[in-house]
């Protein structure tokens, strides 16, 4: 491995030297996506790891059991038990395989391949493009192991949390919920562990389906149904990209198995690649898939609406698993973003597009999050923003940074969503943080709020937090780059970090500090007279997404409703999960904390020993930012913007809330600034733009088609078709003379013709 890395590092540093020589942007840009000769070790096939199939079979068994429970309408808490137990089994297996195979991956790039079962195997010749193989096989390299580790552990914790959170649904959709969650985790594991692109696609579609089922879980509410449809359709747009990319990959390389695919890319010499559109399209189509699944670029608007789902679902989908599938795809398919794979004229634009989409999404997500009053939606937009960071990390050339941020983000974002869920759970579904306050002093909520503080600190990338450690890698790589565009991404990312700090603490200060203020949400009537866990209504997502004016008018009416409302503090299981996640968030930084004593960062080694390693080069060891030492400058800058953001949040939302409210009012009244506040609060009207660009033309087209259907098809075509049988009947009626012989003649004639035909075939050698 070291032998393979050395030329790369030399190459990267060499490029830096060239840039310092002042050879101009063109030269540096050409080197940007050129990582030299690719090398991939062949996978080690080891069938003794066959027990890994239980990682898939255990959740699948839970799927079957929960499905049976849901179908038979059995009421009970058993589905939660199955789900938690099966996820725990998968987590234990994941840790086991990490302990057994992980050390290998610290030192050498040799993925573990475990063939499980034949699925699709076609052969129509012996040539290179005359077979198609996509079997159920596992392919474990650094990033797969990383993913299964946090997916299974977080899924176990979240399922445990959900077993308490969903208790009010024991009589309704409990089994259905856990069925979908189990299927979701199964699909995610297939996605991550499959050894070919078709298996990945299977898991990809599986998680898409499950997210649809889970977002639309409260199917009696139109908003949830609309949100689930929106998520589904937007994901389909991305899936189209993935499907086309897989087709093109097969037509260009003749295989969809990772092993053969990477070998094929590596074996095509860097100089021999001809710029063909079909190869050049692959990275862009993959990027489209990533945009759909990871809520990037133009396709991010489904994610905030996905908050209609139960909160554990938000945590599962948005923090830990589904949205990171896009990052996984990008990391797994990183070889396609190199000069060797698609030629020099396309590799660099592809990579820059990835970077810019990530950067822009991070920035836009952060700005929208500043204008939201629904704390769950704030976290949703923060997820979009964080995902943007990850994509940007891959785009600017540090897969290590991107993947590490996925890992840390999974922990603290799950923590944030689950604390948000706990607050919603206790406050009868209240999601507007302006109606809550001082929760730190409300009995029973102290742990929740402290955990949320930790989550917000991590989200704000407080210095030395795990999140900061991972995010700084991305920023450092971007800011020290030779390419001017990439440096711009870095500066924008730095600004985004400040905004992130501001909105994260805007939520926490409003919720935790200040005078105690509790206005129960729309679900309070369910939980009003019974404070038992099981009966507390919650989570029915009564979010009034549309008009905040309605909120204001509504709040007056809530005054007397609050009488007699007692917050319903989270129980043991929820608190346990929160604490575990908080500890996990802190420990996520361990790889970096222990870097000095261990001698290496194990996540970095994992990424370097995977198909993403080509982008994982460290870059210049001692890059320069603003003419000074890179690491030190970045630390000062990052800490500065974060502290500034938190300070601004303190002033506007804790120290002097009236000032914050007045500021908003004056912004809304000032014509020049009005658009800023309103735009941020309405998500920059992206949905409205979509509606205008797609919805309205489609509606008009539908009207035209409806007109055509009603008047042209029904009125003309079908009328004509309807008359045709009658016309034909009149034509043929004279044949029906009524005598027996006429019918006999027709019948015998038909038989004779058929017989003549058969004899003709027989005589001409057709059958012998």
């Amino acid at each position: 491995m070291h032998a393979a890395l050395l030329p790369l590092i030399a190459l990267a540093t060499g490029d830096g030297a060239h840039a310092a020589d002042g050879h101009g942007a063109a030269h540096a840009a050409a080197a940007y996506a050129d990582v030299g000769t690719l090398q991939f070790a062949k996978a080690t096939v080891d069938t003794s790891y066959g027990w890994l199939k239980w990682m898939l079979l255990a959740p699948l068994a839970s799927v079957a059991l929960c499905g049976a429970f849901a179908m038979l309408k059995v009421r009970g808490r058993l589905p939660a038990l199955f789900t938690v137990a099966s996820f725990a089994v998968a987590a234990v297996l994941a840790v086991t395989v990490y302990r057994q195979w992980g050390p290998t991956l610290f030192s050498t790039h040799a993925p573990l391949a475990v063939p499980l079962m034949d699925w699709l195997t076609f052969r129509w010749g012996d040539g290179p493009f005359q077979s198609f193989t996509a079997n159920f096989g596992l392919y474990l390299d650094g990033i797969s192991i990383l993913w299964i580790l946090f997916v299974t552990v977080l899924a176990t914790l979240i399922a445990l949390y959900a077993s308490e959170y969903m208790e009010s649904d024991v009589k309704a959709g409990y089994a259905r919920f856990f069925f979908a969650v189990s299927l979701f985790v199964t699909s995610m594991l297939i996605l991550v562990m499959s050894d070919n692109l078709v298996g990945l696609y299977l898991g990809w579609e599986g998680v898409g389906l499950c997210s649809y089922m889970l977002i639309g879980y409260y199917a009696s509410q139109p908003g949830a149904v609309a949100a689930s449809k929106k998520a589904f359709v937007m994901n389909r747009v991305g899936d189209l990209g993935l499907a086309l990319a897989i087709f093109l990959i097969w037509t260009n390389y003749g295989t969809v198995q990772y092993d053969g695919l990477f070998q094929a890319i590596a074996s095509s010499g860097a100089g021999t690649v001809q710029g063909s559109w079909s190869k050049a399209a692959i990275p862009f189509l993959l990027l489209l898939a990533v945009c759909g699944k990871s809520a990037q670029g133009p396709l991010f608007t489904w994610l905030p609406d996905a908050m209609w789902g139960p909160t554990p679902v938000s945590a599962l989908i948005h923090a830990a698993t589904m949205v990171t599938a896009g990052i996984y795809l990008l990391a797994r398919m990183a070889p396609f973003y190199t000069v060797q794979a698609i030629g020099s004229e396309w590799a660099e634009p592809a990579l820059l597009t990835v970077g810019w989409i990530g950067c822009a999404t991070a920035f836009i997500g952060a700005t929208i999050a500043c204008g939201q009053f629904d704390y769950k939606r704030v976290f949703a937009y923060s997820t979009i923003s964080s995902l943007g960071y990850m994509v940007m990390g891959l785009g600017v050339g540090t897969a290590f940074g991107g993947v590490y941020y996925v890992f840390t983000h999974a922990w603290f974002k799950a923590l944030l969503f689950l604390t948000a869920g706990a607050v919603m759970h206790g406050m009868a579904g209240q999601v507007d943080f302006r109606r809550l306050g001082g929760l730190l002093r409300v009995p029973g909520f102290r742990i929740t709020m402290l955990c949320m503080l930790l989550g917000c600190l991590w989200l704000a990338t407080a210095p030395f937090s795990a999140a900061a450690l991972s995010k700084d890698i991305i920023l450092y790589q971007a800011l020290t780059s030779d390419v001017e565009q990439v440096r711009w991404m870095g500066w924008l990312g730095l600004l985004t970090a400040g905004i992130t700090a501001y909105y994260a603490f805007r939520v926490w200060f409003r919720l935790a500090l200040g005078p105690v203020r509790i206005e129960p949400g729309p679900d309070q009537h369910h939980g009003h007279d019974d404070h038992d866990h099981g009966a507390a209504g919650h989570g029915h997502g009564g979010h009034d997404h549309g008009s905040h004016g309605a909120h204001a008018a509504h709040s007056g009416g809530h005054g007397h409703d609050a009488h007699g409302f007692h917050p319903h503090p989270p129980g043991l299981r929820i608190n346990f999960v929160l604490v575990v996640l908080a500890v996990g968030s802190i420990l996520a930084g361990l790889p970096t904390y222990l870097e000095k004593s261990e001698g290496f960062n194990w996540i970095q080694r994992f990424v370097q020993n995977s198909s993403a390693w080509i982008r994982a080069t460290g870059g210049p060891e001692h890059g320069q930012i603003l003419g000074r030492d890179g690491h030190g400058t970045l630390f000062v800058l990052a800490t500065g913007v974060v502290v500034a953001g938190i300070a601004l949040a303190w002033v506007l939302h804790a120290g002097n809330r009236a000032l914050g409210d007045r500021l908003r009012d004056s912004m809304l009244k000032t014509p020049g600034l009005k658009w800023l506040a309103r735009g941020s609060e309405h998500g920059w009207y992206v949905d409205a733009v979509y509606n205008a660009l797609l919805g309205v033309p489609l509606w008009l087209g539908a009207q035209v088609l409806a007109f055509l259907d009603r008047f042209v098809l029904d009125g003309v075509v079908f009328a004509a078709v309807g008359r045709l049988p009658g016309f034909l009947a009149r034509v043929f009626q004279p044949l029906y003379v009524g005598t027996v012989q006429a019918y006999a003649l027709t019948m015998a004639g038909g038989i004779a013709l058929i017989f003549a035909w058969v004899v003709w075939i027989w005589l001409s050698g057709g059958a012998s």
Binding site: Y736, G738, T739, V740, Q741, A748
Partner: protein
């Protein structure tokens, strides 16, 4: 035991004369075709049935000829069943014709064209 055989062949089942089977089959085909023509062109119901009997004859001839070709008695046995069916058909068909004749006082099948309506 076998009064006719010595006239025709020395062996108990001597091979048929080579062309016989072909000629007989050709005759069967011609008779069948003529019977078909008769069934389709005659307007007299009785003669229509008679034409079907002609087609039965053709079938019987073909059975016997093929039986002879394969030296198997099953062909002749089939003719027994053909005779049975033909007799049954004659009894029923003629009964029907008599019935129909009583109704319309004619044997012309065009009197029975109500199927048209």
């Amino acid at each position: 035991m076998n009064p006719v055989q010595p006239l025709l062949a020395a062996a108990p089942l001597a091979p048929a004369m080579p062309a016989n089977v072909q000629l007989t089959l050709a005759l069967a085909l011609i008779l069948f075709a003529i019977g078909l023509v008769g069934f389709l062109t005659r307007r007299n119901m009785i003669l229509m049935f008679l034409s079907t009997e002609l087609m039965f004859q053709a079938a019987a001839l073909a059975f016997v000829a093929f039986g002879r070709m394969w030296m198997d008695l099953s062909g002749q046995l089939m003719v027994i069943f053909i005779l049975t069916v033909a007799a049954a058909e004659a009894a029923l068909a003629l009964g029907l014709v008599v019935l129909l004749y009583r109704r319309k006082e004619t044997l012309s099948n065009e009197a029975w064209a109500e199927l048209k309506e």
